[in-house]
């Protein structure tokens, strides 16, 4: 069997091309609803519960999410499910308690660094804004590559130049509708993509399970260790207890404070809706992990049953493991439905890009550029700057995403670049909201501590027999610990003498 043999036919190309034009039409349609900055960034704070769930899921269930989760399933088997279990409990805990998100929505902030200023002053906001934008934009760095690999695996089309042109066209379309319609456009597109992608994923799971057989999923293939297929803490699973701890801290902080997700809570009609949004979405968070992992697991079982494919994924010239799931789905799903799934995935790719572009460009405008201008900036100018930032970040991604080859795996890269922002942000927001003694110095130390996470993608984290203290997971956990301790000791040793006028205001 040819590795890139696929059921993808002309009809599937037609479905994909028609489908990805719809968002641009929506962007043009809703432009008339954008009258002020809050309409553009937080949809006028008018999101009700169900549309908020759809848009949160649409954002957090991107093509990249599907790719890195299916890769985890492909590499680690059922033991990968533990990440989904951890995440669902973290999101549910946030939803039931309203931890962080309720208060932030109550304060009517539009970005996380806006809270930094309310609590710690302008300088902390600017530092926090820069670190957030840096971590966030780098975090998007590999999205285009993952998208290109998915496309290659599903369609069997492998011309590198053609792939780059296709991905570039999709990114340009995202830029157009996000620049035109802002959050309103993003919300409507997310809803449409939620519907198509969710139904596609559920039906796709049925095909995947039917192909390999339900019982075979729960039997470790002969090429892997049986214990590591099931148990995430067992030796050889590739995870271990430090990894599990890292996942708890990372998913909890990301659940509460990842700007693109939190933006939905901040766009909610009331603080209560923001809280409910998380409780309901916990099921979506579980699904966005477990369903792609299931596809990856089925792909691995299928590959291990097919000698030609097994050979392609092993040895020195082995295919990248990200290809496992798309290559499998291309052979299992029937033509027509495969086109719909691919369209849904490309739409998911676009919906993640639109939200992230909007998030990071609003941070740059609101939290870095605007605070630097003493006389303030008008709403109209902010809107223009935000749109310019969207295009600039898009161009950066085009260059970085298509030409930069990361030295580490996709999930490793995502986790580490996410930690650059999250370690500081989670500490600063939690302390700022719930600890009266938290000071500006402590906040700055915590934010800067996040930069330690960059060490997690260094060359020393690769290869066999890496000492635990140089592993990406240990560096990730330590970054959170240093940020936390930095906030405590910084605040106790250098307390704010009096609340500044700025903070009081």
């Amino acid at each position: 069997m040819d590795v890139f043999a696929t059921n993808f036919q002309t009809i599937d190309w037609v479905i994909v091309c028609v489908y990805i034009c719809i968002p641009v039409a929506i962007g043009i349609f809703v432009k008339k609803y954008i009258r002020q900055l809050s309409d553009f960034i937080v949809a006028g704070r008018s999101l009700r519960l169900f549309i908020a769930i759809a848009t949160l899921t649409g954002t957090e269930l991107g093509l990249v999410t599907v790719m890195y989760n299916s890769e985890l399933g492909f590499l680690h088997g059922l033991s990968a499910f533990h990440v989904g279990i951890i995440e669902v409990f973290c999101i549910l805990a946030i939803g039931l308690t309203g931890f962080i998100v309720y208060k932030l929505r109550q304060m009517r902030v539009m970005t996380i660094p806006e809270f930094y200023q309310m609590r710690f002053g302008r300088n902390v906001r600017i530092v926090g804004g820069i670190i957030l934008a840096l971590g966030g934009i780098l975090n998007m760095g590999l999205f285009l590559q993952a998208g290109a690999r998915f496309m290659m695996g599903v369609t069997g089309y492998s011309n590198p130049a053609g792939l780059k042109i296709f991905m570039s066209v999709m990114l340009i379309m995202v830029l157009v509708y996000t620049v035109l319609g802002g959050m309103v456009s993003v919300v409507l597109n997310d809803f449409m993509q939620f519907v198509v992608l969710s139904i596609g994923m559920l039906i796709g799971s049925f095909f995947a399970i039917s192909k390999v057989g339900w019982a075979n999923i729960f039997q470790a293939p002969p090429t892997v260790n049986s214990a590591s297929w099931f148990n995430p803490i067992s030796e050889g699973s590739g995870f271990g207890s430090i990894y599990v701890i890292f996942m708890v801290v990372l998913t909890f902080s990301a659940g509460a404070l990842w700007q693109s997700g939190t933006l939905r809570a901040l766009s909610a009609k009331t603080p209560r809706v923001a809280k409910q949004l998380y409780a309901w979405s916990s099921v979506s968070y579980l699904a966005r992990r477990v369903i792609p992992m299931l596809w990856g697991i089925c792909a691995f079982v299928f590959v291990s049953q097919t000698p030609r494919l097994l050979e392609a994924f092993q040895g020195p010239d082995a295919l990248n493991s990200q290809f496992g799931m798309p290559v499998f789905m291309a052979k299992v799903l029937p033509s027509g439905f495969l086109g719909l799934i691919a369209a849904g995935m490309f739409a998911a790719f676009m919906s993640t890009h639109d939200s992230y572009l909007l998030s990071w460009s609003s941070v740059i405008t609101q939290d870095i550029i605007a605070p630097l201008k003493k006389n303030g900036i008008s709403d109209k100018s902010r809107l223009l700057i935000t749109r310019i930032c969207i295009v600039t970040i898009g161009l950066f991604l085009l260059i970085w995403g298509l030409w930069f080859e990361a030295p580490v795996s996709l999930w490793n890269y995502m986790a580490v670049t996410g930690t650059i922002y999250l370690a500081g942000a989670f500490t600063v927001v939690t302390a700022g909201l719930y600890w009266k003694k938290a000071s500006r110095t402590g906040a700055k130390i915590a934010l800067y501590a996040g930069l330690l996470a960059i060490m997690g993608i260094g060359p020393w984290t690769r290869g066999e027999n890496v000492p635990f203290y140089l592993s990406d997971k240990f560096i990730g956990v330590m970054t959170f610990a240093v940020a936390f301790l930095g906030m405590i000791f910084g605040s106790l040793l250098f307390p704010d003498k009096t609340g500044s006028e700025e903070v009081k205001r």
Binding site: Y33, R35, R48, I53, V184, T270, L286, A287, I291
Partner: protein, 49 residues
């Protein structure tokens, strides 16, 4: 610990729970979109919270 049983339960819960959520959100979401667009065309209501 019976990992096999745990992951079976997780998988069944995810597929059935998510199917239910999708149905609920599709039905409720359409109404929410209409309300959102109405809010954006009307002047803001200061008492909404």
């Amino acid at each position: 610990m019976n990992w096999e049983l745990l992951w079976k339960a997780v998988l069944i819960f995810t597929l059935s729970g998510y199917s239910l959520l999708v149905i609920i959100v599709i039905i409720g979401g359409v109404g929410n979109i209409v309300d959102m667009l109405r809010d954006l065309t009307n002047p803001p209501d200061p008492d909404q919270e």
